[in-house]
């Protein structure tokens, strides 16, 4: 009997291959757009994991995005300098010596490791501080939002060390590759795509493991998990750290595509926009998160060119409509009737075999949750679970 996931993975691979040939049929502007949005998709995957599976809403993913981007940007700022020279903004901020914590980023290995380690560590520390005191839910969302505000304020005010409001731009070569070279840009696109693919397959594997199942169970009933003898805190911390690491990688890749990283990309508003991408695509679907990110960002590029003042109305309405009407996002629309039809007619899977796919534990819980959330006046036993969602 064929493995139920094989088709899914093959399908995803096909799309990845099609995307891989994008440099040959997209104009270089559209390619650069696609590259940057694919980089953002990595962050969206992280949000889908921590929000869709872990039930933790973070309004501060911009912080981890920024930490990753700044780690690599510091290296790029230093790489072209002679010994004793300072990055331009330090000079006009009146600094005369490179601070020690900048000097370690002269080493490309440290910088690239920093892209993953720094945001992951920051995320883990924050998550531990909040969750070990059993603070959760809304408080966590609000604290992460305050963190986004504090982080961008700090970046802006410490101009001599961070480039301030201008951020970091005008970079040197990455490992000898000049970023403005079209060939390097193309290579960067493939690297981004590869990172996205790895992240996607890693998360798909992760949510299927026992670890993934416990995380899901914590989302749906944290106290019940405690009663069963598990300590949910390490699980939440690890999940949040993974989300942070993905945000960091995403930030570094985005910074390479955009050629700039500045506090405007890490603050409160961009952090919340990141949540919309995933909400639109469907928080409980990894592929949905990717589609949502691409859709919203291409939409933004298009609408904001055509009718700029409309953009805020559109994204505001999108928030309201998606969350109230289709809480599972676009991937929620990809409902069972469609899936059954595709499975039977196109992939020739017999209905019985397909039934095995649908009865995976994930879908079970998710479906139950959706039906209870949709009922107008939830009974007490449902409410208990929803309170934490």
């Amino acid at each position: 009997m064929p493995k139920s996931g094989t088709v899914k993975i093959a399908f995803q691979l096909a799309i990845l291959v099609a995307a891989g040939f994008a440099p040959f049929y997209l104009s270089s502007y559209n390619l650069s757009l696609l590259g940057r949005f694919l980089a953002l998709c990595i962050l969206a995957l992280g949000i889908a994991l921590i929000w869709g599976w872990g039930g933790m809403l973070s309004l501060g993913q911009g912080v981890f995005f920024g930490l990753g981007a700044y780690s690599l940007a510091m290296y790029l700022k230093l790489v072209g300098l002679g010994p004793g020279d300072l990055p331009d903004f330090m000079e006009w901020s009146g600094l005369s010596r490179l601070p020690w914590w900048w000097t370690v980023f002269r080493n490309p290995a440290v910088a690239i490791a920093g892209v993953i380690v720094v945001p992951a560590a920051a995320a883990a520390i924050l998550a531990w501080l909040v969750f070990h005191r059993r603070v959760g839910g809304i408080y966590f969302a609000l604290i992460t939002q305050a963190l986004a505000l504090a982080f961008s304020t700090l970046l802006i005010s410490e101009q001599a060390y961070t480039g301030g409001f201008n951020g970091l731009t005008d970079f040197g070569a990455l490992l000898g590759f000049q970023l403005i070279d079209p060939k390097v840009q193309r290579g960067l696109f493939w690297v981004t795509l590869a990172c996205l693919a790895v992240a996607l397959f890693f998360l798909q594997w992760l949510v299927g493991t026992d670890f993934g199942k416990i995380v899901l169970a914590i989302r749906d009933g944290e106290n019940r998990i405690r009663f069963l003898g598990y300590n949910p805190v390490p699980y939440k911390v690890v999940v949040f750290a993974i989300g942070g690491a993905l945000a960091g990688i995403s930030g570094a890749l985005y910074m390479l595509h955009a050629g700039v990283i500045s506090p405007a990309m890490v603050g409160v508003v961009p952090s919340i926009e990141m949540i919309v991408w995933v909400a639109v695509g469907g928080r409980e679907s990894l592929v949905g998160a990717i589609l949502g990110t691409l859709l919203v960002n291409f939409g933004k590029d298009w609408i904001s060119s055509a009718i700029p003042s409309l953009w805020l109305f559109v994204i505001g309405l999108l928030f309201v409509i998606v969350v109230t009407v289709v809480p599972k996002g676009l991937s929620g629309l990809w409902g069972e009737p469609v899936r059954n039809w595709v499975a039977v007619k196109i992939f020739r899977i017999s209905p019985i075999r397909h039934a095995l796919v649908v009865t995976e534990p994930l879908n079970n819980i998710a479906v139950e949750k959706m039906t209870s959330a949709a009922s107008d006046a939830p009974g007490p036993e449902h409410r208990e679970r929803l309170d934490e969602a």
Binding site: A10, Y29, F165, S304, S305, P308
Partner: protein
């Protein structure tokens, strides 16, 4: 687990079909007809924040730029072609500025771009313009310390706005200076330069404070001002923070008539929005005031107010306006739209009587211009108290603070 080979083949076929459909679907997006540059028009980009926090300042500059383009078109265009502006929104986000600049150059094939307000947006766009060898006309006063051959800096350098204001202050007998700014690059760099010059000229800094962008509480800063008893406050606050600052100063019994305030980001536009009475009697330093008494300015204002009856005119808007005229003149002189030829032609031109007086581009692609100090009247206009003796040579690098740095473009 055994695969039946037939099922496998069917699946692979299906996947191939899907992949092909997808590829075609994606690629058709790009098959739009490429707009030819020929015919009767030439495209230029206008890139400002039409949404987000900076829209408040940048939308009026966009309007002034479009007004200038219409004016040039009404006079027959340039080199026989009408100018077609392509307007894009930078959304107050430097990464979007870079992205849209690339779009304008690559997709719309514009020959030049007018735009940018914050230094952050200019810095983000700079690599794009250098990479595609295009030209950006930047209309706002800024902190200097930058020198690119792909940017025409028409806004004031520090020595054309901040230092003249200091000179005026010393001439007025002010010795104790309090520096107050929003917490970002321009105020911090401007204050770095001011501190050196104040110390050098025998003045005294009695305080230096920064408010986060968008901050609204000044109670602690006002206490510090009260303690420091400055002769004058040099104010580089940005946008809305100015409203809070002046309101809370007035509430604390310290209106501009009691402690003089010299502002570097309050022009006619901002004064009008804040409520003129709040800032009446405060000072400002610019390279243009609406009240400038010259025939070109009168004619310009009459035409502009006919189109935008309620809009005030101010320094950045005028720079947005003259940038277009200077570009058109340079194109005519170069007899070409090529950015490289245009920028070289621009530095060879001079305008004896523009709306802001005598101007010309220095070899470093910044503008020679006159500095004015004005005092805000209750009617929202500045009365001009002081002006520099001649148009000032633009210095991107202050020789006292950054000795040995020089700006030479190739």
């Amino acid at each position: 687990m055994s695969f039946s080979s037939k099922v496998l083949v069917v699946r692979i076929k299906a996947i191939c079909v899907l992949a092909t459909i997808l590829t075609i679907a994606v690629s058709t997006v790009d098959l739009r007809p490429v707009m030819a540059q020929g015919g009767g028009t030439v495209k230029v980009g206008v890139l400002q924040s039409l949404t987000g926090t900076m829209a408040i300042s940048e939308v009026p500059v966009k309007d002034a730029t479009i007004f200038a383009i219409d004016q040039v078109n009404a006079e027959g265009g340039v080199l026989g072609k009408k100018i077609e502006p392509v307007i894009e929104d930078g959304a107050s986000d430097p990464a979007i500025f870079a992205q849209k600049a690339q779009k304008l150059i690559q997709e719309d094939k514009v020959v030049t771009v007018f735009g940018g307000w914050t230094s952050a947006s200019r810095k983000a766009m700079l690599p794009v313009f250098e990479r595609f060898h295009n030209l950006l006309w930047y209309p706002v006063q800024f902190e200097g310390n930058e020198c690119s051959s792909n940017i025409m800096y028409s806004g004031a350098q520090p020595n054309q706005q901040i230092l003249p204001a200091l000179q005026w202050g010393f001439e007025k007998g002010y010795r104790k200076y309090f520096l107050l700014g929003s917490d970002y690059v321009f105020p911090r760099t401007a204050n770095l330069i001011l501190k050196k010059h104040i110390a050098h000229d025998g003045g005294q800094i009695v305080g230096e404070e920064y408010e986060p962008l968008g901050g609204t509480d000044f109670s602690s800063i006002i206490t510090k001002i009260r303690l420091a008893r400055p002769d004058v406050i040099f104010n580089t606050l940005n946008g809305d923070s100015n409203v809070s600052f002046f309101k809370q100063m007035a509430a604390a019994g310290l209106p501009p008539s009691k402690i003089p305030v010299m502002s570097f980001s309050i022009a006619e536009q901002e004064a009008k929005a804040m409520g003129t009475q709040l800032v009446t009697d405060s000072y400002a330093a610019w390279n243009y005031f609406e009240s400038l008494n010259n025939p070109m300015n009168k004619k310009f204002l009459a035409a502009y107010h006919k189109k935008f009856p309620n809009s005030a005119m101010d320094d950045p808007m005028v720079h947005g306006y003259i940038d277009v005229l200077m570009w058109a003149a340079a194109v005519k002189k170069a007899n070409s739209f090529d950015p490289n030829a245009v920028r070289k032609a621009a530095t060879d031109l001079a305008w004896g009587n523009s709306v802001m007086g005598s101007i010309k581009f220095a070899p470093n692609q910044s503008l020679y211009q006159t500095a004015y100090v004005g005092k805000l009247q209750p009617d929202g206009q500045f009365s001009i108290l002081w002006q520099s003796k001649q148009p000032l040579f633009p210095q991107p690098y202050d020789p006292q603070v950054f000795p040995g740095k020089n700006c030479v473009v190739h």
